[in-house]
Symmetry: C4
Amino acid sequence: MYVLPRRGFLFAGAAALVTRLAGQTASRESLVDDVVTANHILAAQDIVDAFGHVSVRTAPGAGRYLISRSVAPAQVTAADIMELDLDSKPVVVAGGAEKRTSYRERFIHGEIYRVRPDVMSVVHCHAPALIPFGITKIPLRPVYHNSSFIGEGVPVFEIREAGGDTNMLVETPELGRALAKALGNKPAVLMRGHGAVIVGKNIIEAVARSVYLEVNARAQAQALAMGARVTYLDEGEVKKRAEDPDPYGRAWDLWKHQAMQQPGR
Amino acid sequence: MYVLPRRGFLFAGAAALVTRLAGQTASRESLVDDVVTANHILAAQDIVDAFGHVSVRTAPGAGRYLISRSVAPAQVTAADIMELDLDSKPVVVAGGAEKRTSYRERFIHGEIYRVRPDVMSVVHCHAPALIPFGITKIPLRPVYHNSSFIGEGVPVFEIREAGGDTNMLVETPELGRALAKALGNKPAVLMRGHGAVIVGKNIIEAVARSVYLEVNARAQAQALAMGARVTYLDEGEVKKRAEDPDPYGRAWDLWKHQAMQQPGR
Amino acid sequence: MYVLPRRGFLFAGAAALVTRLAGQTASRESLVDDVVTANHILAAQDIVDAFGHVSVRTAPGAGRYLISRSVAPAQVTAADIMELDLDSKPVVVAGGAEKRTSYRERFIHGEIYRVRPDVMSVVHCHAPALIPFGITKIPLRPVYHNSSFIGEGVPVFEIREAGGDTNMLVETPELGRALAKALGNKPAVLMRGHGAVIVGKNIIEAVARSVYLEVNARAQAQALAMGARVTYLDEGEVKKRAEDPDPYGRAWDLWKHQAMQQPGR
Amino acid sequence: MYVLPRRGFLFAGAAALVTRLAGQTASRESLVDDVVTANHILAAQDIVDAFGHVSVRTAPGAGRYLISRSVAPAQVTAADIMELDLDSKPVVVAGGAEKRTSYRERFIHGEIYRVRPDVMSVVHCHAPALIPFGITKIPLRPVYHNSSFIGEGVPVFEIREAGGDTNMLVETPELGRALAKALGNKPAVLMRGHGAVIVGKNIIEAVARSVYLEVNARAQAQALAMGARVTYLDEGEVKKRAEDPDPYGRAWDLWKHQAMQQPGR
């Protein structure tokens, strides 16, 4: 029977693993590989489509982060990864000015890294199942153990309060700051009529939370559509689950395989 | 890690890009390539199935458009593309009569081009998520930033008002004119019990609007099924988003890759 | 750009085409090919899973039909096709007794062919979207032009009325006759807690009706879940659409390609 | 036309077949092959994602079971299969201590095998469609003939009653016993905010019940969302269906093919 070259992949997954366990002290090359992989995973898992982005802070406490230039996540390669500072301006590279351009909404990343030293990775996505919870007053609440982090709170960012009538994009430092404020100390924030931002203490956590935020949204919506009263995870359960040091490692390894099985999706 | 030949594709995407930025003055070959690509994208994105079609006007102000002969969108090749006039009659080619036959509902295209000089591309589709909004009195409204054009209005075409009991197909010039009238100056019109027609100032816009019309319909339906009050994009947001000169270029490039990854879908 | 070998497929699709236009006088080989193709299409379109079957009458007025021995539709090959009589007993082949066994529910086919001379092809499926309409009192009604045949009526077969408590399977001639009676002169019948049976004047019609029965069920369910009043196709529209001599030919050609792109699905 | 190498697969499927018909006396090699196949089927059918597991008892009456070490189901190979006793401790292999680690929730398996001598196989999954029925008071009931076993009862395990505030995981013998008690003599038990456990008298039954539990959940949810009264399979129908000696064999063969068509999914 055909078998996936799993062990080779585990080796390839070592960067993220080292990053995770050692507190983000992996080599530059490893970090770039992680960002590329995260882009492909988010695309293969249908969390991002042509739009959306993911970044990683270069080191604990650092005022720099890695993110792709402005292309669709499924198409990101190592050559596309740029280094930005907390003002979301490209860092001068090798004696010259950085000429590529990152995403218009890169300020989401810079402004969150600025005020959340615990955050090492940020995802911005438009996963369709999240939209209904951003446009109604129904709060997203945890109905699934792997989505327990939702119990810490997932507020909604109403861009009208921050900027009046806009083109809905967080494309200025000011809107980035307003979004970071709406996020507060939470794991994720929904954006009304737009999508969501999810953060993590490492890139595996940010990606896995993005996937399970969407899984939870679908299950909760289905339960509510049946017109039934729902039992959510309670505070104690949310806390107990947050004590798990590595809840998503196995998922990252599998998703990486799957993303490589269907490149460009 | 396997990487998509993205740059090659960007080059291949140049036709649409040039078309878009230069106001549709691309070569005939480029336009044909765009129509073929648009067909494959719409099929790969599940916007059309065996039925549905897409056309492009040959030049600004021209009374001609390119569309495939009558085959399923996933199977269209350059050799299938025909040139029709505003009466949706084939233009005589190279000294002889055009013997192939285009779609029975080609009048949708000709009659819209006749009364909408701003329209350079037309899509007709049966995307399943649109059907519920054509058969109920619930209006499709914008809940998602990439679908903001819905805020300009998406009326419903009731073919019974135009033609009494029909076979539901817009297969005469008269029904085409009635549909064009129902569309008015809007970006799209739903067809009761049938599907939708979407227009754009270029082929990228027409295709991308088709995709995001469907995304919006699913999200809005899900929100309504939860029984909640919904916050829609407001007029100011819709206007601000309409000012973006190239909101969908990145999506076209990705979708083209994906369509080529899974030919025939 | 990679292009499907469409023309070759059109040639391969000639059997069904000839069958359709000439009133089922195609060669035995062509009919076998049609049944195999129909099995693969129904599997690729997610209308059947491991279960379900499709048959074709050998000629107008004939008391014989072709159907596979008991294997999953995606796996049917020409060598699996058997010939059964109206008692659903295998016809003796080439001087010997037929030793293979067809489906336990083959009586669905034989008993319908017995009382419906207009029927040349029968599909039995378990498409998930049909289940809710078989277990509730909500009638399936036409909301989509390609599903207009639903307007001729799609009754529900309640096996309890015919056989009391059963294992839900139509595995006797008596239950087959009861099902055929419930079907009456309609294009399809739902089976409570089980699935559906769809008939056609040729194999293309039976297969296409199976696909569009499911599309209609999903759209109607979604409209009802939004709590809205629905406008169905009216009697006149249903009649006008029934006059189309070949509404599904283009779909058959595409579906055949797609089934061949993903064998075993 | 391309045809699946079905017969070869049927041969490869012989292990499970022998197991099934001969009452689980297949060779060790056959059992290992069955567990690997079951893992791949459950992944390909979207019943498990990165998480979830499946085990088989080594022989009728035996106090041992086979299960993978802790990896994602899609990635399990024969080399990953371990043998555990009813305390869910690894059995010493070939003179040495077993150094690999199985799933944290392996106690689900051991504690069920301990009290259910009729159970030869256990599946634990997180299939999304099951979540709404675990978090509401709406009982899962049989609406589909292939899901008739649900009529024997599918209780909900509320881990709070057994362990107060936990991390939701059944990762101790005590919680495993509480889950086994909640299961009782039923074919499956839902786990509130987590997933489900499904058992069978052989591995084919456990896997097929897992698939059809999910199919039933989707159909029932859809019917309830339409706000209609539902006719469920009654007691007599459930009993009659339970008499079928081999209802799922054809499905196993197909699913095995499909899992091999898309390795790593």
